[in-house]
Amino acid sequence: MTDQLPDAVNAPCWSPRIGTLVAHEPNCGLRDNQKDNRHVSHKADYDAENRFELFLLDDGQSKVEWKEETRKSSLYEHLPKPPLTNPTPSGVPNTAVFTFNKEDHTLGNLLSQRLLKYDYIVFSAYKVPHPLFATFDLRVSTDGSITPKDAIIKCCRDIVGDLEMLKSSFQTEWLGKKIVSEGEAERMAREQNNF
């Protein structure tokens, strides 16, 4: 993590190891310079490092990267020629692979499954290349009436709309049920007091 000698080794501290630990460990807490670094603070849990890497983008990393599908099937020669979705010498038409960084199945499954419900989607699936890296690849093919990118944007917008409906319904029903159950609790309490 550190290339040069950590400066805290030279820091005025009764224990150089703690000095280094505290100064150069993102998961470790702070030290009190006024008190000879003696009052070391602790991270309330120190069992795994840098777990925020699961959801925070690295420096300069973008959330979504994508490229057109240019891979060709080794069986290209034998495939039927005319249909749009079959590979051409320049790759697969109307197909793109989107790489989502710092995302997981929450979004991967949601998008890939939802996309399948549109008529113009020919193929949609995602994979997590390795479970230890927070990223997934989404491959989308369309029938040509819409680009894969616009298909995803449309899909996202529809889901946001659905969630908005869910939210408003949830909030009204919650208030209704809450009032009813509170009234009931009050009535119960009153009845108990009568005895």
Partner: protein, 334 residues
């Protein structure tokens, strides 16, 4: 909805609603969105938890790290965390009032009896916070003590400064807002998504949740041929809170968090050239009054929960990112 064979709008029906749990059914919904919502409610809702502990004095029998770990797991009231910044996004060095709540635990046993130090003994140190609720330990037991942190013998003392920060459960489970989320669909297994193990007869050996089966349209008819195209449309949720947030807040913030995730993807894809004809306005319902699905910078405003909170947006502070504390650097610079 085009994907729903039966038609009908997405709606919610409640079975139970109180301070502890929200037990409800979502109807005319789809599995992937329902599951994503469950996952977001489990792992991606910001709450408050003790993250760094400065040990000033500890003569108890438990090691510093041991006590610190226990402190981290204590649930704190998180109503109003949306006004708090993530510590890593704050300009300050270490922590400050904009990104942390400081609690002190100071106890010394002077009597001859064993003294128990409880979660209620955590005292909020930082002043000038408008909602003094935020960061208080959650206390729900009848004695009003909260969980026991350490026991002290005569002469033993413990003095710690606990810095509580905002975080999500993906980083550490101590930030999880929910104790448990029940999630179920198709209790009668009419869709055959489950393949029951059995000795002789699965139907007799496995218990049935008759109540739920009735809520889900009764048991399947064995004479009917199996419908391969059937998809689940009704989902049973049972959200139980740890105490930091109300159960309805968990669900609402969960939905908003998922919406923000999707909005970010939309913004990002739109920013990367092409597809200019797409207008984002379509996704907004009247309740979202002008909440801007952000551009590449992810600026996005959420309505609801006391004062619009805003983050990410560069410079558009005019959209109402004011917090009760006035001078927070929301949307200004970092």
């Amino acid at each position: 909805m085009d994907y729903d064979p039966e038609g009908g709008a997405i709606n919610v029906r409640f079975l139970q609603a109180d301070n502890q749990r929200a037990n409800f059914i979502v109807q005319n919904f789809n599995l992937e969105t329902a599951n994503s919502l469950r996952r977001v409610m489990l792992a991606e809702i910001p709450t408050l938890a003790i993250d760094v502990v400065e040990v000033l004095d500890n003569t108890s029998v438990l090691a510093d790290e041991f006590v610190c770990h226990r402190l981290g797991l204590i649930p704190l009231i998180s109503k109003g965390v949306e006004d708090l910044l993530y510590s890593r996004e704050c300009d300050c060095d270490g922590y400050c009032d904009n990104c942390a709540v400081v609690l002190t635990l100071n106890a010394k046993c002077t009597g001859s009896e064993i003294m128990k130090v409880y979660a209620r003994d955590l005292v909020i140190e930082s002043g000038q916070r408008s909602s003094d609720e935020l960061g208080r330990p959650v206390i729900t037991d009848s004695e009003g003590t909260g969980s026991c942190i350490v026991k002290l013998r005569r002469g033993q003392a413990i003095h710690m400064r606990c810095i509580a920060k905002k975080g999500i459960a993906k980083e550490h489970a101590k930030w999880a807002p929910s104790a448990a989320i029940g999630f179920e669909y198709d209790p009668a297994n009419k869709l055959h998504h489950l393949d029951y193990w059995y000795e002789e007869n699965a139907d007799e050996e496995w218990p049935k949740d008759q109540e739920r089966i009735n809520l889900d349209g009764g048991p399947g008819n064995p004479d009917e041929p199996f419908n391969y195209d059937a998809v689940p449309t009704r989902f049973f949720y049972d959200v139980e809170t740890v105490g930091g947030l109300d159960p309805d807040q968990i669900v609402t913030i969960g939905i908003e968090t998922l919406q923000k995730k999707l909005a970010r993807i939309m913004g990002e894809l739109q920013g990367s050239g092409g597809g200019d004809g797409m207008d984002l306005g379509g996704a907004q319902s009247p309740t979202m009054n002008g909440a801007g699905y952000g551009g590449a910078d992810g600026g996005y405003t959420t309505p609801g929960y006391g004062g619009a909170s805003q983050w990410g947006g560069a410079g558009d502070a005019a959209q109402g990112g004011t917090t009760p504390y006035g001078a927070t650097p929301y949307g200004q610079s970092w």
